[in-house]
């Protein structure tokens, strides 16, 4: 026992190194252990408040662009209002209809930290638990997708952007609804990869890819990007293409978080289906 203690004391440097390295690697590879801990709340809160100060300053430099985007969005919304449509029959817009039920609402949030130059990029937003943000909610800007919420504290949340090795978006061709997957393989933040294009689909440069709505994170029909380059892979089962993202990830300042009002219902349905299967 004495010898063991002596040994430990003499070699403490190696043991301390091993202990700290193991802690670091556990934090790195076991995300749930960290994300659910109280530590996440503290560190997200501290980092959030400092990044918030920094973004409060830098936000002035992007006001012109933010204004333009807002004006465009406003114009878009105005043109969708009932008043914007020609009414042949005044009753046309007033009948009650149980077919329509609110499914998605949106919370506006400010981006207080963003990166596009890493292999795995995240954004921090200034909304959290208190504002009703939950994990796996989608984040968009206008009608273009940004990413999904992966970690939350009381007032802030981290969003995994599309520019991440773990990000995999289910999309489809707007012209014929063929499903594909969109990933990002590093490098330029302007371009991503379209995987698993079925052989029979004829692809052309400029084809629009939109979200498929299969994943519960994004509603159907949000803009992902347009096809840039197209490669035939005769020896494989699928073709590949590169996509020009519709979103400018490097200039995000205000984004919207999607709240799916029917999420619980969908989750319940899925879990009950799974338990029936067993």
């Amino acid at each position: 026992m004495h010898y063991l203690l002596y040994f430990l004391r003499k070699q403490y440097f190696y043991f301390l190194f091993l202990a700290l390295e193991v802690i670091a690697l556990v934090l790195l590879f076991n995300e749930n252990a960290y994300q659910n801990s109280a530590l996440a709340h503290v560190s997200n809160g501290v980092a959030g408040s400092i990044l918030n100060i920094s973004s409060n300053i830098s936000e002035y430099f992007s006001l012109r662009r933010v204004n333009r985007i807002l004006a465009e969005d406003n114009a878009n919304l105005h043109s969708n209002r009932a008043e914007a449509f020609y009414r042949a029959d005044t009753n046309a817009f007033f009948h009650k209809d149980t077919l329509y039920k609110l499914e998605y609402t949106y919370i506006s949030a400010k981006v207080i930290s963003n990166s596009t130059n890493k292999r795995n990029n995240f954004l921090m937003l200034n909304k959290g638990h208190r504002q009703g943000i939950e994990n796996h909610m989608g984040v968009i800007i206008g009608d273009r997708i940004v990413g999904q919420v992966v970690s939350i504290s009381d007032h802030f949340c981290w969003v995994m952007s599309l520019l991440n090795k773990d990000s995999r978006i289910s999309g489809k061709f707007k012209k014929n609804n063929q499903l594909v997957n969109i990933e990002w393989n590093g490098g330029s933040y302007l371009k991503g990869d379209v995987k698993e294009i079925p052989k029979h689909v004829v692809v052309q440069k400029g084809d629009t890819i939109i979200t498929s709505g299969n994943s519960d994170i994004f509603p159907e029909g949000l803009l992902i990007g347009t096809i840039d380059n197209y490669t035939l892979a005769p020896e494989e089962n699928f073709n590949y293409a590169t996509i020009l993202f519709a979103t400018d990830f490097n200039s995000l300042s205000f984004v919207e978080v999607i709240i799916d009002m029917m999420r619980k219902e969908k989750d319940n349905l899925r879990s009950s289906f799974k338990s029936n299967e067993r």
């Binding site: 301390l16 802690i23 960290y34 980092a47 400092i50 990044l51």
Partner: protein, 170 residues
């Protein structure tokens, strides 16, 4: 002693903020991400207790990770180079360079010594960091290119910082 301690705490805070607020926002085609904050580990005094070396590197990495939502990533790389630091110093020194109360620097140890020292530690840090971040072998050479370019940039910043403090103390 307390002045040295205070100076290092201030350097710690400055480098963390400089890294997360300025360097992390630098955009060079997605290949160059300088991680200058490890300058803190490079210039800790020679007689820093080894446990303190490891603990301060752990805290440094942890703060960095909290700001970028990459928990454990910078921490692992920092702890590794803090662990290797004494061995690297022993390996490249001939035994005459050390004086108590000194930190590794170009002025005290000479350009060649400091170049070896900083290049080895920066490369080890960047290799660990970038390969842990990607953690797959399909992008091996792409990642290697990022490691080399980013290391070169970080080392450049380290030398600029050295010469700034060099001229400041004269």
């Amino acid at each position: 002693m307390s002045i040295i301690f205070l100076r290092n705490v201030l350097r710690f805070a400055f480098l963390v903020l400089f890294q997360v607020l300025i360097l992390n926002n630098i955009q060079f085609s997605g290949y160059i991400n300088p991680y200058f904050y490890i300058y803190f580990i490079l210039v800790l005094p020679f007689e820093t207790p080894r446990w303190l070396l490891l603990i301060s590197a752990f805290l440094l990495g942890f703060f960095l990770d909290a700001f970028t939502n990459t928990l454990g990533l910078n921490t692992a790389a920092c702890v590794l180079i803090a662990f290797l630091r004494p061995f690297v110093i022993r390996a490249i020194s001939t035994g005459t360079e050390f004086m108590t109360g000194h930190s590794p620097s170009i002025r005290n140890q000479g350009l060649k010594w400091f170049a070896y020292y900083s290049i080895i530690l920066v490369m080890v840090h960047h290799l660990t960091l970038f390969y842990l971040e990607i953690f797959r072998f399909t992008e091996f050479f792409q990642t290697l290119l990022r490691v080399l370019l980013s290391s070169a940039f970080t080392i450049l910043l380290v030398f600029i910082a050295e010469y700034l403090s060099f001229s400041g103390k004269k």
